[in-house]
Amino acid sequence: MEFFLQLWNLEFFLQLLIQGLSVGFLYALAALGFVMIFKSSSVLNFAHGELLAIGAFIFLAFSVWLKLPIYLSFLLTLVGSFAMGFVIERLFLRPLIGEALIEVIMLTVGLAAMFKGLLLVIFGGNLFNYPDFLPAGLTIKWGAINIPPVYVASFIIGIIFLSIFGFFFKYSSQGIYMRSVADNQPAALSLGVHVRRVFAMSWAIAALVCAISGVILGIMNGINVHDISVLGLKVFPVVILGGLESIGGAIIGGLIIGILETFTGGYVSTSLKEVIPYIVLVFILLVKPYGLFGLVEIERV
């Protein structure tokens, strides 16, 4: 009975909805880099949360510890993470070009443990915060609803990503190479696609996207190695729901999962909140494995 009473409480409902949307936006943002890597090399990146964390920590090191101006340190973060993407690809993924996908996936599991350990050794497991630097003019006030500037900024960045990467994969030759490599590596190699360069580019771009998302996540919630690596695993339900190849799907999937999570937390139980995305994940995998907007794989023998 209490349950139905709560359901009719409109204020509570709206509050949960807004909270859910903001959590969902966080997930969507985290999922962008993941989709990027999957789309360009069909690698499931289990080290995704760690990549986000590395980006966030590079920014922290530049802006708080070295006390560089915000715009400069943001630029340096972008350059640094781009270079780091190259290095990761060069050191760890290049030796595996042409190997079975299983080994690449296992490798990212190993990389995840490695990066997490490294970050914990260097920065420790504490919560860090950025100084508040976003202009207050970005705040949107609309009646009782007050949207803080971080969400506006992340919304704008999300839209920019969506359009840039949409065009990039659809029309640019580099994007088409990436899709061909993801689809069938040996065939792409034999048609003269420079697979090594494509791999290097896709990891570098993905690291860059991860760094931007990581910084925004850091502004929203503060950065903590454990939290971000948990978030990196939450990406899986999001992208499976949205379809692994679709950036728009990642955003919609993120919003759905976020709303679902807060509603479960609000109406059912708070402890169920953490696992509900994974329960949904199993269900989707059984019913509609390619998600809402994913490419349906057709196998011809």
Binding site: P95, M106, V109, G117, L233, Y278, I279
Partner: protein, 356 residues
């Protein structure tokens, strides 16, 4: 008496039976007996209790790792939920022992069977899914099971945990490291023997066919789904059995240890040991358990020295780093793992003056 077979300089099989033999030479068979003698007669009497404790943990980890190797190494289905399956075994044994009052041997075996069923449930998504998606499904399984350990309080008592009764076997009280050593390693030898022989049967060959090319396997008339589920069941049985033993050995269980970290540890074991090799799983279990033990000893060592306690705190995350590094290192440089290193060393001795 038939002629003893000693080492040839290469493999020259003329008949299919020769391909199937476990020991290609009588020398190998002799070494097996020497090994068993060392395992059951020498080691338990010369080792100190602490060392026996470590070896017992190696034995239990090896049983679970053999199971995971059947699934990943032989059938080619990546599972990220093995740590949770280990936990299901531990909980099943504990609950059966405390609530139903099952004796030691029965509750450990039933723990294996129950875990096999749970494994099959999480293997069902493999009807439609290839390894990529299946890996994600098992990841979800890990989190869901972890949640159940903590939240299904009427059954698992939540974070408080369960105390197990003292184990007893054939009227004898199994207490102390040495008694458990015999229990664990008799189980280990039997389960390893079963696994080695399983690979030589119809099932094992079907698993390998599915791993190498599932479409071709289906074309050859192997019902893929059925065999994938069987593989999941066998692998989970091993994990659950080891989990049940561990629950009795440690004496109490809580939900904390059975996290994704444990699953990654098992994956590290079989990658480092060697995918698709039963001795490899054992090597991996030895390597990882020993590494764990060395790092925790190092932490304690530094903790006790004044002024160095800070270093001790950085060692705990270093453990994770070392695991990751080991996985990455072996995948890149020796994808067949320690089993392959061992083979190279052996053949180096055998071909000695002309080794390459």
């Amino acid at each position: 008496m038939r002629k003893l077979k000693l080492h040839p300089c290469g493999k020259f099989n003329e008949q299919y039976e020769e391909e199937l033999t476990i020991f290609s030479t009588d020398f190998g068979r002799l070494w097996m007996w020497v090994g068993l003698f060392l395992l059951f007669v020498v080691i338990p009497f010369i080792c100190k209790p602490y060392l026996l404790y470590v070896i017992n943990h190696i034995g239990m980890a090896a049983i679970a790792a053999i199971g995971l190797n059947i699934l990943i190494g032989y059938t080619g289905q990546i599972s990220l939920g093995h740590g949770a399956f280990f936990g299901v075994g531990a909980y099943a044994a504990a609950i059966l022992a405390t609530r139903v009052g099952f004796p030691f041997w029965l509750s450990v075996i039933s723990a294996g069977v129950i875990t096999a069923f749970v494994g099959v449930v999480f293997g069902i998504p493999s009807v439609r899914l290839k390894h990529l998606y299946l890996t994600i499904a098992t990841l979800a399984g890990q989190f869901i099971l972890q949640y159940l350990f903590v939240s299904w309080e009427s059954l698992t008592k939540g974070p408080e945990g369960i105390m197990l009764p003292r184990a007893s076997l054939f009227g004898l009280d199994v207490k102390g490291d040495r008694a458990f050593y015999y229990v664990i390693f008799v189980c280990f030898v039997i389960l390893a023997w079963v696994a080695v022989n399983l690979i030589r049967t119809r099932f094992g060959r079907a698993f390998i066919a599915i791993r190498d090319n599932d479409r071709a396997a289906e074309g050859m008339g192997i019902p893929i789904f059925k065999y994938k589920l069987i593989s999941f069941a066998i692998s989970s049985f091993y994990a659950g059995f080891a989990g049940g033993l561990a629950a009795y050995y440690i004496g109490s269980i809580t939900p904390e240890p059975y996290t994704l970290g444990l699953s990654v540890e098992y994956i590290a074991m079989i990658i480092i040991g060697g995918l698709g090799s039963i001795p490899g799983a054992v090597f991996g279990a030895i390597f990882i358990t020993a590494l764990n033990e060395i790092l925790s000893q190092a932490t304690q060592f530094f903790m006790n020295i004044e002024g160095l306690a800070k270093i001790a705190l950085t060692i705990a995350p270093l453990r994770e780093f070392v695991f990751g590094l080991a996985i990455v290192f072996f995948i890149i440089f020796e994808p067949k793992g320690l089993a392959e290193v061992w083979r190279i060393i052996r053949s180096g001795f055998r071909l000695w003056p002309f080794s390459y």
